[in-house]
């Protein structure tokens, strides 16, 4: 009998204890940690919603999971300084982390999944978010929130974030001094959405298959440098939209396979320099632009339409165009005659979207060739008087021999020729 009881007790402990250890009250642990202290969390699931309002370091382990419900915020950080969160997995919440009136916040190694929106920052200063994964929910963009949304904040840094399937990857409104570097944002509405922001930098980020890679509106003094902006090629796809911005430098970026790589609208005193526009349907679209904007030293390669505008002025100079057919007799690297990007068809498309059906159709290709002759005397619109003869960068292709393809290809050619000769023989 005693043995039976011992066996049953052992079984009870084996089954029940781990379950009890999995669900712990994190709020009590936070409250019990002194201000400025460090809270080390073991592996396990911490259910509920939690609040931090004092300086603290919360460090998770390999499988430390904070789990909430789809109706409330999982972790609130308010009215505090010097908060650090590391190695935490946050699951199921309306908002993963809501931050309000916090100075010096550092978050790293977080993973946020199954939530309407990831991180919200309000009136935050000196915040750094690093190496964090945010995976949004399925459904239309209108039915989900942003990866990270920052409002009315200063001095923010976000590095190494991987954001997928959200409304806007990084939504930045009324923020000054923000640096976004090495982030990867995919399958979202806008990769980065700047609104009323100043002194922002987006550097070496990657954008893929969003509706728009970077949407910049009413923003000043911003640098977009060395980003890779690929495959924003939906019906309304844009690599970058610059709307009503001032002093925006777009430099050293690669735009590939976008519907429109850059759409600049009402832009002022801005520069697009040393970018590579490759295989886009339209590379640069200029609407209500002014002469203080410049498009210089870029490479235009394999785009259907390189430059198009509504007739407004922009300085265009020293770009490389792969369809430029001029020559360089004095060998100074600059073509001897101007490159005229003006195409009747390109202008029609800007004014009447239904014309887009004909893009690069046989009739339009012929029309463009005629345009080249008639527009050669154009001096005002979309003219680069000093086109470069050589690209800044070379396209490097891996050389891979495929013996199978060579053998099959040659075998079919030889068989075809043999059959032709045999059948043609009298």
């Amino acid at each position: 009998m005693v043995k039976k009881w011992l066996l049953l007790s052992t079984l009870f402990l084996l089954v029940a204890l781990p379950a009890k250890a999995e669900t712990m009250d994190l709020q009590q642990l936070i409250d019990a940690t002194p201000a400025g202290g460090e809270l080390q969390l073991q592996d396990g699931i911490y259910k509920g919603s939690f609040r931090i309002n004092k300086p603290i370091k919360v460090i998770g382990s390999k499988n430390t999971i904070l789990q909430g419900t789809a109706k409330e915020t999982l972790l609130q950080i308010e009215n505090s300084n010097d908060v650090t969160l590391e190695n935490l997995q946050l699951k199921t919440a309306k908002t993963g982390i809501a931050v309000k009136k916090v100075n010096h916040l550092y978050m790293s190694g977080l993973k946020l999944t199954s939530m309407y929106s990831g991180v919200q920052l309000n009136y935050a200063e000196d915040v750094e978010i690093a190496e964090t994964i945010i995976q949004g929910i399925d459904g239309h963009y209108s039915k989900k929130g942003n990866g990270v949304a920052a409002f009315n904040s200063k001095r923010l840094q976000m590095n190494g974030l991987q954001i997928n399937q959200v409304q806007d990857g990084l939504y930045i409104e009324n923020v000054s001094q923000i640096e976004l570097q090495n982030n990867v944002i995919r399958n979202s509405r806008y990769g980065i959405h700047f609104m009323y922001t100043e002194n922002a930098k987006a550097i070496e980020n990657k954008f893929n298959k969003n509706v728009t890679g970077i949407m910049l509106m009413m923003t000043k003094n911003t640098d977009l440098q060395r980003n890779e902006i690929n495959e924003q090629n939906g019906l309304n796809g844009f690599g970058v939209v610059l709307f009503d911005g001032q002093n925006i430098d777009v430099e050293g970026n690669v735009f590939q396979s976008n519907r429109t790589a850059i759409s600049a609208q009402k832009l002022q005193r801005s520069t697009m320099k040393e970018n590579r526009f490759q295989m886009n349907q339209s590379a640069v679209e200029l609407i209500r632009s002014n002469a203080e904007n410049s498009v210089i030293e870029n490479d235009f390669i394999g785009n259907i339409v390189n430059l198009r505008s509504d007739g407004s002025e922009t300085t265009i100079q020293h770009n490389y165009y792969d369809d430029y057919d001029g020559i360089d007799v004095d060998d100074d690297g600059i073509g001897d005659c101007s490159y005229v990007a003006l195409q009747s068809f390109g202008q029609w498309m800007v004014r009447q979207p239904a014309y887009q059906y004909f893009v690069e159709s046989p009739s339009v290709v012929l029309l463009n060739e005629m345009d080249k002759q008639t527009n050669a005397i154009e001096t005002d619109q979309l003219v680069d008087e000093k086109p470069r003869m050589m690209s800044l960068q070379s396209v490097e292709q891996p050389q891979k021999r495929n013996i199978g393809k060579i053998v099959i290809g040659i075998a079919i050619v030889l068989s075809g020729l043999w059959l032709w000769r045999r059948e043609a023989a009298i």
Binding site: E231, N233, G234, L235, N236, G237, Q256, S257, R259, Q278, M279, N280, Q281, I301, G302, N303, I304, D322, D323, W348, M349, Q352, P353, A354, Y355, Q356, Y357, F358, V359, E360, S361, P362, S363, V364, V365, L366, L367, V395, Q397, Q399, K400, R401, N402, I403, G404, K405, I406, V407, I408, G409, I410, I412, V413, G416, L417, L419, W420, E423, A424, I426
Partner: protein
């Protein structure tokens, strides 16, 4: 009888110097464009100037060659009395039309296969040349449709020269003139009317139908722009694919049926 006639026609096609020159020209241009463009650009799945060049090469050259060679072949039969001689054999007009059609198909399939094989071999050498399957499919579809139209042109024409002229007119209208006319109309009418006229033209112009097929089957309907969102959405669905197949079959069958009926009528008159 019909198999014998097809074999005979196919042999005559292959013996034709014109056909041999067309084969060399097509293979050379196809290989050159694929190599030059692919070396200049990295691999990508989007609609670029390279894919547009391929598509335009397909739309410019294949219809031109098929229409001229196919229509002149039929017109020559009628003009030289070869067709009258054939009628003395136990062969119906339908068998004659089908025989000519199949021989034309086989000859151009052979040219396409040669061109694709050269590109395949080149892709093995350089590792860069890529030929999307949708191009291969559409090339064969182009041959199916324009071979039927070529037969019709040949039957309508009164002489070989007339057939050549008629083919060139059909080719110019399909590839260039209808588009220019529509673009010109677009400067006078509102955008939504231009959009509807374009949709009508896509169905009524075989060259545009093939071009439209490329965007649908390559999964790039966005190239056509937001104005055609509903239209491309429909044709990207299963029902749309079925309608596309039906319209394509009609573009093949109707010219052949019309050619047969015209030839029957002409036979009765002579």
């Amino acid at each position: 009888m019909n198999a014998l006639f097809i074999r005979l026609e196919w042999k005559q096609m292959l013996r034709s110097r014109w056909m041999q020159l067309v084969a060399v020209l097509f293979v050379l241009i196809f290989a050159a464009i694929s190599l030059i463009q692919q070396i200049a650009l990295p691999d990508g799945s989007s609609f670029t100037r390279q894919t547009a060049s391929f598509l335009n090469l397909l739309l410019f050259l294949i219809p031109l060659f098929i229409l001229t060679i196919g229509s002149m072949g039929v017109a020559s039969d009628l003009e030289s009395g070869w067709f009258s001689l054939l009628k003395t054999y136990p062969m119906t007009v339908t068998q004659y039309i089908v025989g000519k059609y199949i021989a034309l198909l086989l000859s151009f399939f052979m040219i396409l296969i040669l061109a694709f094989s050269v590109v395949l071999a080149m892709s093995g050498f350089t590792g860069q040349v890529r030929l999307p399957l949708v191009f291969v499919g559409l090339s064969f579809m182009t041959v199916f449709i324009f071979a039927a139209l070529a037969i019709l042109c040949g039957v309508i024409a009164k002489s070989r020269l007339h057939a050549l002229a008629l083919s060139l007119v059909v080719w110019a209208f399909a590839l260039l003139l209808l588009s220019y006319m529509l673009m010109a109309v677009g400067t006078l009418v509102a955008g939504h009317i231009l959009q509807k006229l374009t949709i009508v033209m896509i169905h009524l112009n075989p060259a545009e139908w093939i071009r439209f097929g490329y965007f649908i089957f390559s999964g790039q309907p966005s190239v056509l722009g937001p104005s055609f969102y509903d239209f491309t959405n429909f044709y990207s669905s299963a029902t749309g694919f079925a309608v596309y197949a039906v319209v394509t079959l009609l573009w093949i069958a109707l010219p052949l049926v019309l050619a047969r009926s015209l030839l029957n009528k002409r036979g009765c008159q002579t």
